[in-house]
């Protein structure tokens, strides 16, 4: 099967298509930004063009006719944009955004097993109709290509330009920029680095219109390039910027002038391409060296060269891997870890046997080596799974743009910490909850423009998302500068829904009141708007996050805004756990939430406001008995001495009361399967050595149920 070309292409299609679509969407955001700021971005339009261009060919190759057709028309539109035949207006960008979303949907369908893109027929038909409209309008608005000014280009240069490059050349002439030819020779081994360095220097100065390679030196170890550059600044500036690179800069000759650096605005020129009889073609013929008399040196900056060679190499040596393959590797490591646990068991037995002490020592040594290597392997696999949160943030920017339009609100979306890394699976799972959080900010948090103006706030609301890593956790804050949460409405809503009675409501702290927002059905809004009606409640957000071992907290300041703080472990794959026993059962507690453990006597427990607490270095620590949390029946009396495992998430602390600490172990959490999924307080199951399966406690839920206004307590 898999050696049929079409199958091989299909295997590669999806990841590449998704990558292209993401790039395309990211470019659109930047283009939109630049459009709003009034900056022209020809390079970026061209990149967007190239991305749909590739997508078109891909989709065509694997038989996705709709996607191919749609990308074909989008390509046409962008082609006209990059050739300045169509202006990149807000409407055009909207069309492009819609197409980007549709592409994404089609790719997602294919990813979920759809064999064609027929499911998007209606949406793509509608979009196509509007695209045709935009293209038709564009065709009538065609304008003449600007002429060459007084510049003299030899025919051999012009013949090698693509239509787009030729257009950029003309546009640079039209804008009155100076045109230069930068001649550089690179050693084959260092061309990547050398060219990168050259591009970096040129970037702030102007636009590289084309790269012309030539092999005229005849040295197979060298590549010579002529870059045609359009730049507004004086020649001296460019000369200075290129100093030390060993390249030769010349102004492109103009009719009736010397090649000196004058930059007077071009006089009205004769139209059309001029021949250049007085100057030999600078690139293509052997006569050229006479015009470029300076010995062309290879980059002299050897140190820089070598340093960057490595980085460029690694960039080009990436492979794309299906996340399931990583999961499989992770499972294998998990099973190896279990095997190691088994070996440890054998070792423990061996140690007792004095006659085999030597063997035990050897095995002990080998087991330690194995353990270390397994740890390294785990760390390495986890590292591979890590991706920057920026991937999600980019998607969110698009959502913000869309929602703010629908809501008629002007939103400034501020992102920070996009480079923070998280397990790929977590990143995927995060996008929905984050989207709902942001929806809520825009819909409920940010006031309508008139109201903001009256309150003396900037008319544009700000929604900020910031990520940072703290130890084994990543903290994501979503913050708006809107109206803040209405305590009275929240309490009323919670009372109406029967979560609280009036009396209990009066005793709630401000934080507890704000956290009411995470209860099903509780809201600050009287009527559901389109957004909240379509969206999901914060309770669902919270549930989804706790499935990821995440915890969410809310703070608010009336009139100033609301902040949601989300704390997540960086990976869920393999965790270290503390194995404990309570009421005759064994559990595992994820070690990343364990702060310490203490031994207490039964007399140490006090009761404050119906809650059991112990004193921990002068602080009051609320405790929860594991047997109570899971309603376990205990055989016999409680022991006089118990252990308290202090667990914490973010700033919250709770003591879990247990009977026995057994030890630490690496565990792979396995889901409990559908029937047992969603038991509060249980994150999953794991196998300890000797085929023993134990439950893994979900610390986030236990902490919240003990401290917060979780469902259990609110109902009492």
């Amino acid at each position: 099967m898999s050696d049929r070309p079409i199958d091989r292409a299909l295997q590669e299609f999806l990841p590449e298509a998704q990558e292209i679509i993401e790039t395309f969407n990211r470019l659109l955001l930047k283009l939109d930004e630049d459009r709003v700021a009034g900056r022209a971005a020809p390079g970026m339009i061209n990149e967007a063009f190239r991305s749909v261009h590739t997508l078109k060919a891909l989709a065509g190759s694997v038989g996705l006719a709709r996607m191919a057709h749609l990308s074909h028309r989008i390509e046409d539109l962008l082609d006209k944009c990059r050739l300045d035949k169509v202006e990149l207006t807000a409407e055009v960008i909207d069309l492009l955004f819609e197409a980007g979303e549709l592409f994404q949907r089609i790719a997602a369908d294919i990813g979920q097993g759809a064999s064609s893109d027929g499911g998007s027929a209606d949406a793509s038909g509608d979009l196509l109709a509007r695209l045709e409209g935009a293209l038709a309008r564009a065709d009538s608005g065609h304008r003449d290509e600007p002429a060459w000014g007084s510049y003299v280009f030899d025919a051999s240069l012009l013949s090698v330009l693509t239509e787009y490059e030729e257009h950029r050349l003309r546009e640079n002439v039209r804008a009155g920029r100076g045109l230069y030819r930068v001649h550089a020779a690179f050693d084959l081994a260092t061309i990547d680095v050398g060219l990168e360095a050259l591009k970096e220097r040129l970037k702030p100065l102007g636009e590289v219109i084309t790269y012309l390679p030539s092999s005229e030196s005849g040295d197979p170890q060298q590549i010579e390039l002529d870059l045609i550059v359009g730049a507004p600044g004086p020649e001296s500036e460019i000369q200075a910027a290129l100093a030390g690179l060993g390249v030769v800069l010349r102004a492109v000759p103009r009719a009736g002038r010397s090649t000196g650096p004058q930059r007077a605005p071009a006089p009205t020129p004769p139209r059309g391409i001029q021949a250049a009889p007085e100057r030999p073609p600078p690139v293509a013929t052997p006569a050229t060296p006479a015009l470029t008399p300076i010995a062309v040196a290879v980059l002299p900056d050897i140190e820089v060269v070598e340093e960057r060679v490595t980085s460029i190499k690694s960039a080009s040596q990436t492979v794309r891997v299906d996340i399931r393959k990583l999961d499989h590797l992770m499972n294998l490591v998990g099973e190896l870890s279990l095997a190691r646990t088994g070996i440890q068991g054998v070792l423990d037995e061996l140690k007792v046997d004095r006659e085999r002490a030597g063997l035990a020592r050897t095995l002990h040594h080998e087991a330690r080596v194995l353990g270390r290597k397994l740890d390294e392997m785990q760390a390495a696999i986890i590292e591979v799974r890590m991706v920057p949160l920026g991937q999600v943030f980019d998607k969110l920017s698009r959502v913000v743009r869309k929602i703010s339009r629908e809501a008629g609100k002007d939103i400034r979306f501020v992102i920070s910490g996009a480079e923070t890394e998280l397990d790929k699976l977590l990143v995927e799972e995060l996008s929905d909850p984050l989207m709902h959080m942001i929806r809520n900010c825009i819909d409920h948090g940010i006031e309508p423009p008139e109201v903001r103006a009256q309150a003396g706030k900037p008319v544009a609301g700000t929604v900020a998302i910031a990520a940072s890593q703290r130890g084994n956790h990543v903290v994501i804050e979503v913050e708006d500068d809107g109206v803040g949460l209405d305590e009275a409405k929240l309490v009323r809503s919670a009372v109406e829904r029967g979560y609280l009675d009036e009396g209990a409501a009066g005793e709630l702290s401000r934080r507890e009141i704000y956290n009411l927002i995470f209860l099903p059905g509780v809201s600050t809004k009287v009527a559901a708007t389109e957004l909240s009606g379509r969206g999901v409640g914060m309770d669902v957000v919270k549930t989804n996050l706790s499935r990821l071992s995440g915890i969410i907290d809310v703070e608010s300041e009336p009139g100033l805004g609301t902040r949601l703080t989300l704390t997540l472990p960086i990976t869920l794959a393999i965790i270290q756990a503390l194995v404990i026993r309570a009421a005759g059962r064994t559990y595992a507690v994820p070690l990343n939430s364990v702060l310490e453990s203490l031994l207490i006597q039964s007399g140490d427990v006090r009761t404050i406001e119906r809650r059991e607490v112990v004193d921990l270095r002068g602080q009051t620590l609320p405790i929860v008995r594991v047997e109570d949390a899971f309603r376990l029946r205990r055989e016999g009396a409680r022991p006089k001495k118990s252990f308290v495992v202090v667990v914490g998430l973010a700033q919250h602390r709770v003591g879990l009361v247990i009977d026995e600490l057994i030890g630490q172990q690496d565990i792979v959490i396995k889901s409990l399967g559908k029937s047992l999924d969603g038991i509060p307080g249980i994150a999953g199951a794991t196998e300890l050595g000797g085929q023993q399966t134990v439950l893994v406690l979900d610390v986030a839920t236990l902490v919240e149920e003990t401290l917060g206004v979780g469902a259990g307590e609110a109902a009492s």
Partner: protein
């Protein structure tokens, strides 16, 4: 047949590359790939190819620039050159043919079509 014919394939889309490589290798060609015009520039002086297939729309060094480079090079000035480009790029394709490319193929294409075009470029008499 003797030695397998050596093909240089210059194409920046990994999927299109995989597609073309599969089609050509199934027919016994020895395929070397380059993911950009630059990569091709680096490979060309050090190797000999019997046929070169190139995309046009690539960043920095375009297919057109590559075609001229090839035609001016000592080793490959006569080597058969095939353009693969999508429709809509007729003008660029025309230029490519003027610069010395021998044939073109419009993407997306059937594997047989690619093999056919490459075979014909290799033995124009047939």
């Amino acid at each position: 047949m003797g030695e397998p014919k050596r093909v240089l394939l210059v194409e920046d889309s990994p999927t299109m590359r995989a597609f073309a490589v599969a089609a050509l290798e199934a027919e016994g060609f020895a395929v070397t790939t380059a993911g950009s015009g630059f990569e091709a520039l680096k490979i060309l002086p050090r190797s000999r190819f019997d046929v070169i297939i190139t995309d046009i729309n690539m960043p920095d060094i375009t297919g057109l620039e590559l075609i001229r480079f090839v035609r001016e090079s000592a080793v490959h000035s006569k080597v058969p050159l095939v353009i693969i480009s999508t429709d809509g790029a007729e003008r660029d394709r025309e230029r490519g043919l003027k610069l010395g490319a021998d044939a073109y193929l419009v993407k997306p294409f059937a594997p047989e079509a690619l093999v056919e075009v490459v075979r014909r470029a290799l033995s124009p008499a047939a």
